[in-house]
């Protein structure tokens, strides 16, 4: 059993938690992920590590309530326990040698993108962070992001806060302004698959190396099930052990989008049923 030592709601749908897991905290590096199970009947879900404190032995995750498992997890309170918490899994981010980067986060993805930005920034890189949200009410981690980068660019789809439009609008502007100098040596995009796909298309025009972090369906996270298969450069890779980060210009996003929807119908049913039960209990 693993104790929840901290919990905070970042917005209506997004929750930040710290879990006491000293072995994981000891080894965790930016870019890696954990797999957790809320209870005995629960499924195993992967979540990217959002932060860690080696001294306290805690690992931070930030998740969005999208299904039954994340809803159950969101109902756990500080001091309560979850059944399982395994990691760190996957390969860490490669940040060495990067001098100037753009880190793009979309929605919940900003929670994963900001530690990446922070790692680059702490490592001496000049970092533009673009954080995209649907609307002002959903903006999360603004102060943390500000501290983790050189320039923060918040975008909202409806223009209610920051710049107006998708993250790719700002991304294109930054790359266009930099066209002559060509000084960015890395773009990192983390968020919904569709956002990562369009970020990759955008940066491809400018020939800037781009990395995305994938979070496909998986069970074990150790290379055993192959459920997380993704085609990268025409080859099948396992996101859990070969990734989760890949060269965005090589990833077959359409396939990844299709595969991620495989259990959608069942998941929606389970989520709705669970919500109904909760409401009855109230």
């Amino acid at each position: 059993m693993y104790k929840i030592t901290f919990k905070k709601r970042l917005n209506e749908q997004v929750v930040q938690m710290e879990i006491l897991a000293p072995l994981v905290a000891k080894k965790a590096q930016p870019g890696q992920f954990i797999i957790l199970r809320v209870n005995e009947e629960g499924e195993r879900i992967p979540l990217t590590i959002a932060g860690y404190d080696r001294e306290k032995g805690t690992v931070q995750v930030i998740f969005q309530i999208v299904g039954k498992t994340t809803l159950s997890l969101s109902q756990k309170e500080e001091g309560e326990f979850i059944s399982d918490f395994a990691g760190p899994l996957g390969k860490p981010s490669e940040i060495e040698g990067v001098q100037k980067a753009i880190v793009v986060g979309g929605g919940l993805g900003t929670a994963i993108a900001y530690p990446y930005a922070k790692a680059l920034h702490d490592n001496g890189a000049e970092v533009d962070m673009i954080a995209g949200f649907k609307t002002k009410d959903l903006v999360i981690l603004e102060d943390e992001m500000k501290r983790a980068c050189t320039r923060l660019h918040i975008m909202t789809d409806d223009g209610s806060y920051g710049g107006s439009g998708m993250v790719t609008v700002r991304l294109k502007e930054l790359l266009e302004e930099d066209k002559e100098k060509n000084s960015y040596d890395l773009v990192v995009a983390i968020g919904p698959l569709i956002m990562m796909k369009f970020c990759a298309l955008t940066t491809k025009e400018y020939g800037v190396k781009t990395v995305v972090s994938l979070n496909p369906i998986m069970i074990d996270g150790t290379g055993m099930c192959g459920g997380c298969r993704v085609t990268v450069g025409g080859e099948t890779k396992f996101a859990c052990v070969d990734g989760p980060e890949f060269d965005a210009h090589q990833v077959d996003f359409d396939e990844a989008i299709r595969r991620s929807a495989f259990y959608k119908e069942q998941e929606t049913k389970a989520y709705e049923a669970h919500k109904c039960r909760l409401e009855e209990m109230r």
């Binding site: 499924e43 069970i219 074990d220 055993m224 459920g227 085609t231 495989f262 259990y263």
Partner: protein
């Protein structure tokens, strides 16, 4: 007077057409009377050919004699002297190619049902005796076992009996390895595996779940923490695919994923959250036990048509005869001498068929089996909405990648001495599928046993 019946006393089984829609155990086991009757078929040969066929040298005629004498507890204890998991072995060992293949009774009829008797003794003991295990006297030495499958459990069991302070590290949330994620409930009830593990814990074995050995904790770190010898029983967990077009469509699973969802995560039960697709027609590619398990699981999940697609003929199938027989009884359709060439999907990317080609057998290949050769122009399509690839697994590279100096062969298997399990690193031993590639539970147990002995000798020699 010996029972001279030429055939084994049949073991009661659930009706095939009932059991193919439930996950309860297929074989129900002998009653006491039946066990004694079958035991009477053993001639108690002086030279005990059967024992030579057992990778852990169970004292077969001796335990069978005890059954004849109605001393079922004694029979169990006799088996337990050399086999730490009798209830498991009695169910999943390929006895027909091991002990039973060497039984004198096969010269004129069927062998003694050694596996069935082993299972009987183990089940009888579990049901009738509630004996608290006595903790062995600690010898003050710490050892680590990575992986809690059959090799690791056996190794841990033997070492704890010798007084070692044993810690098992398991990557999953539950121990048992392939016994819990791979082999289905209807062939090996999980309560039986758990009971065996509980016995080890009672003896003082410590279990650390959710720890991926090699990555979360390395071999060097274990030595630093005072473990004096380490056993690697990390299995062969990496699934193979065919590398044919369409393998990433929705509805294509590795057998590992398919079985893990069902067995470990209990996707077949409404009270568990892990999903599994609902399929009407399923093709399982492969001819081993894992393929049979996958096909029989698919049937139980409600598929109308389940096909085994295998490129050689039935004679070459690596699966146990009994499993092939059970699968057929349950309505699995065998498409032998067929090989998939492409997986087809609808415009949304969901599997809607598999294109296969007929094969014929040519000259023998490296494995000694006749090589299957495609018959030109014989392609045909099967309408399926799910394909399970059960064509084998290889060792997971995580241990190798994170353990400098650990030698592996070109197939990624850890190089270890055959009789001791000694690897290229001092104090590090290995056994089971991690060394041999995918093989049997009992071979892994044999290797775990040999390694335990070698580890004990190694630690003693250091003193």
């Amino acid at each position: 007077m010996a029972n001279m019946s030429k055939t084994k006393l049949p073991i009661p089984e659930q009706d095939p057409l009932v059991r193919n829609s439930n996950f309860d155990e297929v074989a129900l086991g002998y009653t006491e009377e039946m066990a004694v009757e079958e035991a009477e078929r053993c001639l108690n040969c002086k030279n005990k050919p059967c024992e030579a066929g057992c990778p852990v040298n169970v004292k077969i005629p001796e335990f069978i004699t005890l059954i004849k004498e109605n001393d079922f507890e004694g029979a169990y204890k006799k088996i337990k002297e050399t086999n730490s998991l009798p209830a498991v072995c009695g169910r999943v060992c390929p006895q027909e190619t091991q002990c039973e293949a060497l039984c004198v009774r096969t010269k004129n009829g069927e062998s003694v049902g050694i596996g069935r008797l082993e299972r009987f003794a183990a089940d009888w003991y579990m049901k009738n005796v509630d004996e608290k295990a006595e903790k062995p006297t600690p010898n003050g030495h710490k050892v680590a076992v990575i992986g809690s499958g059959p090799a690791g459990l056996t190794c841990a069991g033997d070492l704890v009996q010798l007084g070692y302070d044993v810690t098992i590290f398991e990557a999953f949330h539950k121990s048992g390895g392939v016994l819990v994620y791979g082999i289905p409930e209807f062939r090996l009830p999980k309560a039986i595996v758990q009971a065996e593990i509980d016995k080890l814990l009672e003896l003082g074995v410590k279990l650390e779940t959710n720890v991926l050995g090699g990555k979360v904790i390395t071999v060097d770190e274990l030595f630093e923490q005072g473990y004096e010898a380490i056993f690697l029983g990390t299995g062969a967990g990496l699934p193979m695919f065919m590398n044919i077009p369409g393998e990433n469509y929705n509805g294509v699973y590795s057998a590992n994923e398919f079985l893990t969802r069902i067995n470990l995560m209990k996707a077949y039960r409404g009270d568990y959250d892990t999903p599994i697709g609902v399929f009407k027609n399923v093709a399982v590619v492969g001819g081993g036990n894992v393929a049979m398990d996958s096909a029989r699981c698919a049937k139980r999940l409600g598929a109308e048509n389940v096909y085994i697609v295998y490129r050689r003929s039935e004679v070459e199938m690596p699966a146990r005869l009994e499993e092939v027989h059970h699968a057929k009884e349950e309505g699995i359709i065998f498409k032998i001498l067929c090989n998939p060439v492409e997986i087809l999907a609808d415009d949304r990317g969901y599997v809607d068929g598999i294109r296969c080609i007929e094969m014929e057998l040519g000259e023998p290949d490296d494995s000694g089996r006749r090589r299957p050769v495609p018959k030109e122009g014989s392609e045909f399509e099967l309408e399926v909405d799910c394909v399970v690839m059960a064509i084998g697994t290889s060792p997971n590279p995580i241990m190798k990648d994170n353990t400098p100096g650990l030698e592996v062969n070109r197939r990624g298997c850890i190089v270890a001495d055959e009789s001791t399990g000694q690897t290229s690193l001092e104090g590090v031993y290995a056994g089971g599928d991690a060394v041999t590639g995918a093989a049997t539970v009992i071979l892994a147990m044999g290797a775990g046993k040999d390694a335990a002995k070698a580890m004990d000798e190694y630690i003693r020699s250091k003193k």
